[in-house]
């Protein structure tokens, strides 16, 4: 067998699989028999697995960048005249490559966990679980969907990646973020299983993995919102979320993970909700695997689904295995995780977190039912139905309002029992904020219920954040005698978790406002723009100047130049166009967007760009506050990062406010 990139890659992935199997077995043996040597062997092998998988990834990239069409994956998905960045991202543009990427990130996390984390009783078993998952993904790469298969008669050129995936730089970002999120959330799952196996179902497993969990959650949030932005810019209809089945399956783990990161605080503080936390993380991981099954099996129809074939049953099998094993483990150790819970009062921080759990689980269930319903109906009586965006919007919107409501009042509730007077006062302020904001919206002329409610709840939440901050900073300022600004800064640096979560909640409000405004008040028309004549649209005048065509690497674009005037002067030049890639007959309309803080002006070519015609048909959409969604996401990300960075002075974070009269050094 001659040494080609294909054989090299197959060998690397086979080696990675073999090493992973060894690491798994050594890890299990070492943990069961408490043999330190075996455990060390397993740990070091994890690094070797990572290196082998990295080799496979490098080989694939080399094949893509050198247009080596003897490698099956390259022959099926790459093209000689694609630009370099497209070739690089082709690694994850199709099924086999995306599994390779997932496996690689997983082996990376496992290697870091193996050698760079402090030794702990739970680590050994957690590594075993991670390596088990690793064996599965590497097995799929090496055995089931091998991208490195060598073709006997390589073609001269390939079809290139799916045009929708070449059209935007986000292809380089979104899938990676998504997999980082999923893999990141595998870590707390592994530690939870380790905790159950070693009979240590306390708070250790959560505290050890707190940063991993938050990072994974952060990546997943960023992935979902960046996916929305990608859809917005690429799909041509000015929307960012379609409740598409594949979108839903990435959303469900996010919902349960969000419930999880809140619920763990109850266990940390009050040793309650133990079983909830274990079940939430098991559910998160199961939903992740379910998601990858649904995306890659062709069982549900989706714009994002890719691939079907032998991969489907394999992923289904893994999903069943994971679910049964983890739930079996929970059942086996039920006595240890069962809640011996006591609730001093329903109206308390614990009560609020409990409500968070219930709300998010209810949402997850609704999304799951909606996504699977067409399949269920077809299985039951063969009828074909569709469950699309209208359904999900109707059932989830009331829940979102409840979530926003809870987000405001929850952080203000003390542990154990809320004292009536303080609670009433806080509620009074917040209701005032709600009334002011909602009233303002009504006066402004808004009449749709959900946007008005969202604005009111934004007021509710902003007052809540103000009360939280003031409640923490003002007493400190009084005690230390420093100014408010200095105290706030110091508070922010010392209480990372609290301030980080405030920032994250602020980000959520901004995103919610963006979503409410852009869904409730968008103007969506299709209009004819004669060349050289200005046409009025809301506060703008649009004038189509001339058609254009241009050629880039591997693509041809045909479009229209449209000048945008406001108050008589030109404010923008937009170039909506249609891209055609390679010899793929599929054309991708690419919108041109004018982003402003208040609204977006979105132009998309609808119909032909005929240079001989005297006009062109353009779809024009104006959506208010869409940029707020992306800004809110950035705020969210910053808040998450803030929470993750360790506090400046190690001891300072644990000192409660006002405990000492002396200022900290």
């Amino acid at each position: 067998m001659e040494l080609s990139l294909g054989t090299l890659g197959s060998a690397a992935s086979a080696l990675a699989l073999g090493l992973a199997v060894y690491a798994l077995i050594a890890g299990i043996a070492g943990s069961v028999r408490r043999d330190a040597r075996l455990q060390t062997s397993a740990r070091l092998t994890a690094v070797a697995v990572f290196l082998a998988t990295t080799t496979a990834v490098i080989v694939m990239q080399a094949a893509l960048l050198t247009d080596d069409f003897s490698v099956k994956y390259v022959a099926e998905h790459s093209r000689i005249d694609s630009p370099i960045w497209v070739k690089v991202v082709t690694l994850w543009a199709a099924l086999e490559g995306s599994v390779l990427l997932w496996a690689w990130l997983l082996t990376g996390y496992t290697a870091v966990l193996a050698v760079a984390t402090p030794n702990h009783a739970l680590r050994a078993w957690a590594l075993v679980v991670m390596q088990g998952v690793q064996v599965f993904f590497l097995g799929v790469v090496a055995l089931v969907a091998n991208p490195f298969i060598v073709l006997a008669n390589p073609p001269f050129d390939g079809p290139g990646a799916n045009p929708l995936l070449q059209n935007h730089w986000m292809m380089a970002v979104h899938p990676v973020l998504m997999y980082l999120g999923f893999v990141g959330l595998t870590v707390p799952f592994a530690f939870a299983m380790a905790a159950l196996i070693t009979r240590r179902p306390g708070t250790e497993w959560m505290q050890l993995t707190r940063r991993w969990t938050l990072a994974g959650w952060g990546f997943l949030t960023a992935a979902i919102i960046s996916g929305g932005w990608w859809s917005y810019e690429v799909l041509g209809w000015g929307g960012y979320w379609a409740w598409d089945p594949v979108e839903n399956v990435s959303f469900m783990p996010w919902l349960t993970a969000t419930a999880f990161i809140h619920s763990v605080q109850v266990q940390e503080r009050r040793r309650m909700l133990k079983s909830w936390n274990v079940l939430l993380i098991v559910l998160t991981f199961s939903l992740t695997i379910l998601g990858t099954f649904l995306t890659r099996s062709g069982v549900v129809s989706s714009v994002h689904a890719f691939g079907d074939g032998p991969v489907g049953p394999v992923f289904l099998g893994f999903f069943v295995l994971v679910t049964l094993l983890s739930l079996g483990l929970v059942a086996w150790r039920w006595d240890q995780v069962r809640d011996r819970a006591e609730l001093d009062a329903a109206v308390s921080r614990e009560g609020a977190f409990l409500l968070v759990n219930v709300l998010f689980l209810a949402l997850t269930f609704m999304v799951l039912i909606g996504t699977l319903f067409p399949l269920i109906v077809e299985a039951v009586n063969g009828a074909r139905v569709t469950v699309g965006a209208p359904f999900f919007d109707v059932v989830s919107l009331p829940m979102w309002m409840l979530v926003l409501l809870l987000m405001g009042i929850g952080p203000l509730l003390p542990w154990r029992k809320a004292e009536t007077q303080t609670l009433a006062r806080n509620l009074g302020w917040m209701t005032g904020g709600f009334a002011l904001a909602a009233g303002g919206a009504l006066i402004f002329g808004l009449r749709e219920i959900y946007p008005v409610l969202t604005i009111g709840l934004a007021g509710w939440n902003l007052v809540s954040l103000g009360l939280l901050l003031a409640g923490a900073v003002v007493p400190r300022a009084r005690l230390t005698g420093r100014g408010l600004a200095a105290t706030t800064m110091r508070y922010a640096f010392e209480q990372r978790r609290k301030v980080g979560s405030m920032v994250v909640h602020l980000g959520v409000i901004v995103v919610a406002l963006g979503i409410a405004a852009s869904s409730g008040y968008r103007t969506d028309v299709q209009m004819r723009l004669p060349y050289g004549e200005p046409v009025t649209f809301n506060q703008y005048e649009l004038q189509a100047l001339a058609p254009f065509s241009e050629r880039g690497a591997g693509r041809v674009s045909v479009g229209v130049e449209v000048a945008v005037f406001q108050d008589g002067r030109q404010v923008d030049l937009l170039r909506p166009h249609i891209n055609a890639f390679g010899n793929n007959s599929m054309t991708v309309p690419t919108a041109a967007v004018r982003y402003t803080l208040g609204h977006d002006l979105y132009l998309s070519v609808a119909g032909a760009v005929d240079p001989t015609a005297d006009s062109v048909i353009i779809r024009v959409i104006q959506s208010p506050l869409v940029t707020w969604i992306w800004f809110g996401a950035v705020i969210l990300a910053l808040g998450t990062v803030w929470t993750l960075v360790p506090a400046r002075s190690p001891g300072a974070a644990t000192v409660p406010a006002g405990a000492t009269g002396r200022a900290q050094a």
Binding site: E342, A362, T386, D524, R528, V558, G607
Partner: protein
């Protein structure tokens, strides 16, 4: 080389024009997209008629515009397409028969969740309030100890506090 590219560009432009010249060129008002967003595009994988750029989606939008001009209501237009394509074409399943389940199950789930929550909170509140039984002699020892400390403390009118659960 440049002539080759130019021909290529022209060929590409021609292909684009041919390939894309499928829509009727008329102006659409916003209601068309609203109604279109409730219909599924028949030839697409999973897009609505409002979103999709497929030729049939564009034809359907034009049909919707014409029917709106004739004065038909949203319900009538949706029924028009449902009559031809079946329930599948509606993005929101009609509320009859087994399809009612998709609407009922979430509501039922919410009620079950709310009910479960209430039950759980009640049980946990009861657990917190539950009187922990204390053995008789332990109680006596506590009372004695308290009585001993009480003798040294300043007198007060309050009786010895009962042991808290």
């Amino acid at each position: 080389m440049s002539r080759f590219y130019r021909t290529g560009v022209l060929a590409g432009v021609a292909a684009l024009l041919l390939g894309v010249a499928l829509a009727q060129d008329i102006v659409l008002d916003p209601r068309v997209f609203e109604i279109g967003n409730e219909l599924r595009c028949p030839t697409c994988v999973a897009e609505s008629v409002g979103e999709s750029n497929a030729s049939i989606a564009r034809e359907m939008r034009q049909i919707i515009q014409e029917q709106l001009d004739e004065g038909r209501t949203r319900a009538e237009i949706l029924a028009f397409f449902q009559d031809r394509y079946g329930d599948w074409i509606l993005l929101s399943p009609p509320r009859r028969g087994v399809l009612l389940l998709v609407w009922l199950v979430p509501i039922a789930a919410l009620l079950v969740a709310a009910g479960g929550l209430v039950l759980m909170v009640r049980r946990w509140r009861a657990a917190a309030d539950a009187v922990v039984p204390v053995a008789g002699e332990d109680l006596a020892r506590v009372r004695a100890a308290l009585a001993g400390t009480e003798a040294d403390a300043p007198t007060s009118d309050a009786p010895a506090p009962a042991p808290r659960p």
